[in-house]
C-alpha cells in the first residue's frame, strides 16, 4: 500500500503572517551508505510548538543536532532564527536552548557551581529567571549534581537551558525515563516559560500524549523519512478508520487519501487521512459492500497506521 506524505499548506502557527524561525529544505544526514535523515523539509513559525514523533532511529535526535549546529549535514539546507545552520556562531547559539535526554553537567559540581559555569558562557543569562526556575523545580543550590535523581537532573538541565531566555528551544526526548510526576513538573516548567515569551519549541518525545497536548503541529518520522507534518487539531479530526464487509470477486473499492488498508477475511479496515461522510455513502452504494462504519482514532493509532502503511 502506497502512503501519502502530507505537509499541510496552511501556516503552521495559529497566528498568520508571523516570521519563520526554522526553515528546512531537503535536509539529509548519511553515515556512509546509511541514511539517517532523508530529505526532510518543513518550516516552523515563530512562537509555535512542533512535536516530533518517531521510534528510536527515526532521525529525531540527528535532526535536532543538525539544527543546533552540533552535527554536519550531508545534503540540503536549513536555517534557524534567520541564519544558515553552518554559519551559527556564539551570538546565534546564545539564542538557542538545547536539552538532551542525557545531561552533560559536571557531576562533581554543586548546582550553584553548575549555574555559575553556564552563566559565564551565556551573555543573555537572566539571574531572576534562573532563581525562579530553581525554586519551581525545588532544586537546592548546595546539592551536588551527582546526588540528583534522573528527574531532578532533567529539571536542572531545563533550568540551565531556559535561564538564558532562548528564542528557540530544542527538547530532545528530555523526559525519557522520568516518572509521571517528574515529567509533569518538567512540562510545567516548559509551559510557564514559553507562555511568558514568544519562544519557538521543537519537542521530540516517545510520549505521544505529551506531544499531542503541547504541539501546534506534529511531524511523524520513520527511518529518517517524514511521513506527515500536520496541524495537531486536524490530525484526529480528519483521520478516521473506515470499517466495512466486502463480499465480492473483484478488488474491494479504494478510498482517496488512504494511509493504510488491511483485511481479515471479508472485514476491511481502511485508514484515511481526509475523512468525509461522502466516503461512507459511496462505499455503502458499492456492489458487495455492507456494514459500513467509521471510527475515531487516537494519535498513537494514527502514528502506527502511518508507519505500518509503509510496508
Amino acid at each position: 500500500m502506497s502512503t501519502v506524505t502530507q505537509t499541510e499548506t496552511i501556516a503552521m502557527s495559529p497566528k498568520p503572517m508571523v516570521p519563520i524561525d526554522v526553515e528546512i529544505n531537503g535536509l539529509t544526514k548519511a553515515y556512509g551508505d546509511t541514511i539517517v535523515v532523508d530529505n526532510l523539509s518543513l518550516s516552523i513559525a515563530k512562537g509555535s510548538f512542533l512535536g516530533l514523533i518517531g521510534a528510536n532511529g527515526a532521525g529525531k535526535s540527528t535532526t535536532l543536532k543538525m539544527l543546533a549546529g552540533m552535527l554536519e549535514t550531508t545534503r540540503g539546507s536549513a536555517s534557524v532564527l534567520g541564519t544558515p545552520i553552518e554559519q551559527l556562531g556564539p551570538k546565534e547559539l546564545a539564542r538557542i536552548g538545547y536539552v538532551p535526554d542525557s545531561h552533560q553537567i559536571y557531576r562533581w559540581m554543586t548546582i550553584h557551581e553548575a549555574v555559575w559555569f553556564c552563566r559565564r558562557l551565556n551573555p543573555n543569562w537572566n539571574d531572576n529567571q534562573c532563581a525562579e526556575l530553581l525554586k519551581l523545580f525545588r532544586l537546592d543550590e548546595k546539592k551536588k549534581v551527582k546526588s540528583l535523581s534522573k528527574g531532578m537532573l532533567a529539571k536542572l538541565g531545563l533550568a540551565l537551558a531556559l535561564s538564558h531566555e532562548p528564542d528557540l528551544l530544542f527538547l530532545d526526548e528530555p523526559m525519557s525515563g522520568l516518572d509521571p510526576i517528574a515529567s509533569e513538573e518538567f512540562l510545567d516548567g516548559v509551559l510557564k516559560t514559553v507562555s511568558q515569551r514568544d519562544c519557538t519549541v521543537i519537542l521530540s518525545s516517545h510520549s505521544i500524549d505529551d506531544v499531542q497536548r503541547m504541539s501546534d503541529s506534529i511531524c511523524l518520522l520513520h527511518e529518517g523519512k517524514m511521513l506527515a507534518h500536520r496541524q495537531t487539531e486536524n490530525i484526529l479530526h480528519d483521520t478516521k478508520c473506515i470499517r466495512f464487509v466486502y463480499d465480492g470477486n473483484a478488488e474491494p473499492p479504494t478510498l482517496p487519501s488512504t494511509i493504510r488498508s488491511r483485511n481479515d477475511e471479508r472485514e476491511w479496515l481502511i485508514t484515511v487521512e481526509k475523512f468525509s461522510p461522502l466516503m461512507l455513502e459511496k462505499l455503502a452504494s458499492s456492489p458487495g459492500v455492507s456494514c459500513v462504519s467509521v471510527e475515531d482514532m487516537t494519535l498513537e493509532e494514527v502514528y502506527k497506521d502511518y508507519v505500518r502503511g509503509q510496508s
Binding site: 495559529p14 509551559l191 507562555s195 497536548r213 503541547m214 487539531e233 484526529l236 455503502a284 475515531d296
Partner: protein, 128 residues
C-alpha cells in the same frame, strides 16, 4: 475542565465547550474574569497557543469580552449564549450519529428507536 486526548475533537474546541459549560453551569458568572491564557494552559497542561485560540473563539461568539491589559471577562447574557452554544455542539454530535446511521442504510424510524434506546440506557446508568 479536563482535556480528553482520546477524543477526535480538537483540544481548542474542547476548551471552548468546557468554558461554555462552565459558564452555563455557573462556575464563572457574568462580569467575572476567567483564568489567564497562561494559567489555564498550565492547569490543563496544554500549549498556550491552543488556549489563546479557544479564547479568541469565545470572544468572537460573544461569550467572553476581552479588555486590554485586564484579561477576559464573562459577557453579560453569556449564560444564555453559552447554553445555546452547548446545545449547538450537542446537535452537531447527534448529526454525526445520524450521518453514520443513514450511511448504514437505517430508516428515520429505526434511527429514532436507537436514540430512544440510548436515552433509556443512559437514564439507567444515571440511576445506577
Amino acid at each position: 475542565m479536563k482535556v480528553n486526548l482520546k477524543s477526535s475533537k480538537p483540544i481548542f474546541q474542547q476548551i471552548v465547550e468546557g468554558m461554555q459549560s462552565a459558564i452555563a453551569g455557573g462556575v464563572y458568572k457574568a462580569g467575572e474574569r476567567v483564568p489567564s491564557t497562561r494559567d489555564l494552559a498550565i492547569k490543563l497542561k496544554v500549549n498556550p497557543n491552543t488556549v489563546q485560540k479557544a479564547y479568541e473563539e469565545l470572544v468572537r461568539s460573544g461569550v467572553l469580552v476581552s479588555m486590554r491589559n485586564r484579561g477576559k471577562f464573562v459577557a453579560k447574557r453569556a449564560e444564555h449564549s453559552a447554553t445555546k452554544q452547548s446545545e449547538l455542539a450537542i446537535a452537531e454530535a447527534f448529526r454525526n450519529g445520524v450521518d453514520i446511521a443513514r450511511a448504514s442504510g437505517l430508516t428515520n424510524k429505526k434511527i429514532k428507536e436507537l436514540l430512544d434506546r440510548v436515552i433509556k440506557a443512559s437514564e439507567g446508568k444515571a440511576i445506577a
